[in-house]
Symmetry: C2
Subunit: 258 residues, 2 copies
Amino acid sequence: MSQPLRILVSNDDGIDAPGLRALVRALCEVGEVAVVAPDRERSAVSHAITMTDPLRAVPREIEGCRGWAVSGMPADCVLLGARELLPAPPDIVASGINRGANLGEDVWYSGTVSAAVQGGLLGVPSVAFSVANLDFEPIDYRAAAAWAQRLVPVAARYLSADVVLNINVPNRPPEEVTELQVCRQGRREYRTTFERRTDPRGGAYYWLGADLPLDPAIPGGDVTALRAGKVTVVPVRLDLTATAALEPLRGWLEEGLE
Amino acid sequence: MSQPLRILVSNDDGIDAPGLRALVRALCEVGEVAVVAPDRERSAVSHAITMTDPLRAVPREIEGCRGWAVSGMPADCVLLGARELLPAPPDIVASGINRGANLGEDVWYSGTVSAAVQGGLLGVPSVAFSVANLDFEPIDYRAAAAWAQRLVPVAARYLSADVVLNINVPNRPPEEVTELQVCRQGRREYRTTFERRTDPRGGAYYWLGADLPLDPAIPGGDVTALRAGKVTVVPVRLDLTATAALEPLRGWLEEGLE
């Protein structure tokens, strides 16, 4: 019999998040799961890492699997798990299931995606899962868990580590989520307003607004495919070079710096 | 007479960092500078944003220019500056000058680069500057400041907002830094070890190690060009889609999900 698939699960909603538990239960059926996740919510922390403080890692069994609650960020968890806590690097990193969409430019802010990116930077195939509730409805993790169970073994077999997968699943019952589309990163276009308030002592402070983004329709983009009820899979490149911009950039620098 | 170039300066080392002051002094000569920067050091915070706490913005004059010290992350500063504090969005965002290299995969972790990325996401041409001290030597910001003064007006004129520039300058006296190279993102290959220690009460904690990265030589990569004494300019794409991976991904998903 072959070795079981060794899966490292992390997230950014924290080790007690229901989305992480749903992912662990689903992946236990297809491999040997170890959880290394933040000990509290760390949403929108992007790829932050902890250098100026030490990390704590408290053992915690999660859904019958071994795990650790870590006092750091998602990227810290994957680094510490792969390099220190686990006896060997995992075969695949699975991050999520995030409570909320990571579509379009959300990828830049997402702690969920950054856990997967950190896996990729370590040379491990890595996948991020999110349930895209674009409408503030309560979240149903079942469809995303079922798709994760199908997709993780396939990704472990085929995916190379220079690309990570950003997967979003519509917030609908499993029987309504039957199609998958490989997409480009779409566009959200946040309006990003701030609300200025005054504290009881007369000082100003600012809340980042919570307006929904414009989500312009872009054919082949993930936002548009998700809205059509499909599971979206975007391959994210770890090499951020804008290759097509290299030659024009050489041209205008030469001209402009004369 | 034409309107002065309106430049928003931010960073991740904090508003009191000498690199920011060097950048402000240099850019005052070529435009109208406003500073919106974190009120403390926020290194390696990547593209984190602050949603669960409000932000404070305390006015602070920096090198004779108007500025605000903000209680958030670099990306928060650019958002708050462009959307709330300044009367109008700036013509260009300049981030830095960072104390230390942002080469290769550092881009994923860098708060300096993420301030520029946030500018790009807002549709503003944006540039990040770092002094690459690969050897723990004291930092000399003069060469980077001089190059920033030359490059910012050119970038404001030619750069489109779907690409941001990640610029690293060797840590050498200005007269020794005479060449610029447009590069791809290179590779650093951090060894990433953790040091396990025990606290006085017997609990374990982990420090992220500080080993220097391997910095493998990659022709055309920024690490290699920087080591050769050149200013490196990498165009960073805001669309993270791994375009070349789209077709292979469709193929193996079809095969694997049968």
